[in-house]
């Protein structure tokens, strides 16, 4: 579907959203092409962007909330915000960097609303309640819960740096772009996150 350049993206969104169809050209198009089409109101192009980045976005969100339903909500919020903000996306960063940044912001906002800053002494009370993986022993589950809670109790900057660097294998420069800081600051945050993690896991695992 091609967007009418004279029509508002919002009116196009409503109609396009209900008639999303596969466009073979979009399957192989790079993000730049899809973003350009989406900025013109092409919902199909944006749908392809969602498909491409949904897993990474979901995993970022999950690392912050450790709960599937919340992570799914945050994933949806991330893409809806991205769609609304496409006009502001000037292509100076890659779309993946930009969408990661939105995901981190959305997740941190949710976490700060739902969970006050955790006391380091009682982080094991925050252990997640989700179902254990098959074959996972009780000890493994307890250990995983303790580590998860310790990560959750880290200050937001440290947690963000650790999540993006460790789990998403992004370069320090990419993390710096996402967080909007310097490479040196990212490295410092990763180091302090690990040092705090070690301290908080002392005697727990």
């Amino acid at each position: 579907m091609r967007a009418d350049a004279t029509a508002s993206p919002w009116t196009l969104a409503a109609s396009a959203a209900s008639t999303v169809s596969d466009t073979p050209a979009f399957e192989t198009a790079d993000d730049v092409v899809l973003v350009e089409a989406a900025r013109r109101g092409d919902a199909t192009a944006f749908d392809h962007l969602v498909t491409r980045h949904r897993r990474a976005v979901y995993q970022v969100c999950y690392r912050f909330v450790h709960q599937h339903e919340d992570a799914a909500d945050l994933t949806q919020d991330t893409f809806v915000r991205a769609w609304k903000s496409l006009a502001n996306f000037r292509g100076e960063a890659r779309f993946s960097t930009w969408i990661h940044r939105i995901a981190v912001n959305v997740s941190l906002n949710r976490v700060s609303l739902k969970t006050p800053v955790a006391d380091t002494a009682d982080f094991d009370l925050m252990a997640d309640q989700h179902a254990p993986a098959p074959g996972q022993s009780l000890v493994d589950r307890e250990r995983a819960a303790a580590v998860r809670a310790a990560v959750q109790s880290l200050p937001p900057r440290q947690r963000t740096a650790l999540v993006l660097r460790t789990y998403h294998e992004l370069s320090h420069q990419e993390v710096a772009d996402i967080v909007g800081t310097s490479v040196g600051a990212v490295k410092a945050n990763v180091f302090h996150a690990l040092a705090n993690l070690k301290k908080r896991l002392e005697g727990k695992v």
């Binding site: 009116t11 409503a14 969602v50 979901y58 490295k187 990763v190 040092a195 993690l197």
Partner: protein, 205 residues
């Protein structure tokens, strides 16, 4: 002895990017070795956490949720944007101008200041006419000559009214009287003067 590793350098160590000369320091420094062991252990614990893979049905569902949310948002936006049309805004603006013009005309024809009535006006020794004339308050310098003439006529007539004469005439709100008087033609003023005069001269029953 070279200085101990910085936080950045510990992260470089984890990335396998520590320069040889700094690695030489690490090999010789027990403090740095202990710190390196701690961050490695914390990193290993963090890396052991995985994100449970959602159901395969989840991924297309996320696309559908995003499309639906965007369409809902577009519908909401269309709701208020519907008012931003010339065929709606022009009549509203015209109506607003008419209302403003009427309000402005009423302000122009009314004497400046408030018009106390009742016990307060009596208590400070000023008659309603004195307030209406603007003598004791700010002068009504911008009142048109026609309104001044009409008010002067009413003031002259009021001077001849006995106590309670205003009430007998059913005049209770001086601003209304001012507006009405200012709107009269010469002929109407003359007729009103005759009527008032005859009402004043009529013996009370």
């Amino acid at each position: 002895m070279t200085p101990c590793l910085s936080p950045d350098e510990f992260v470089d160590l984890l990335d396998g990017a520590l320069p040889a000369e700094r690695r030489a320091h690490l090999d010789a420094c027990a403090v740095c070795q202990a710190t390196a062991a701690d961050v490695r252990e914390a990193l290993a614990a963090a890396e052991a956490l995985d994100v449970p893979e959602p159901s395969p049905l989840f991924w297309p569902a996320i696309n559908a949720r995003v499309r639906s949310a965007i369409a809902d948002d577009a519908a909401t936006t269309r709701g208020w944007r519907a008012w931003l049309r010339l065929d709606v805004l022009v009549p509203i603006a015209g109506l607003a101008l008419v209302v403003m013009a009427i309000a402005s005309a009423v302000d122009t024809l009314s004497p400046v200041g408030q018009f106390p009535s009742g016990p307060d006006a009596v208590a400070d020794g000023r008659s309603p006419v004195e307030f209406a004339d603007g003598v004791l308050d700010e002068p009504a310098t911008d009142a048109p000559a026609a309104a001044d003439d009409a008010l002067a006529m009413m003031v002259d007539l009021a001077d001849t009214l006995p106590d309670g004469g205003w009430d007998a005439l059913g005049v209770t709100r001086l601003p209304d009287l001012d507006v009405a008087a200012a709107a009269l033609t010469d002929e109407e003023r003359s007729a009103l003067a005759s009527l008032l005069q005859s009402a004043v001269e009529r013996p009370k029953s």
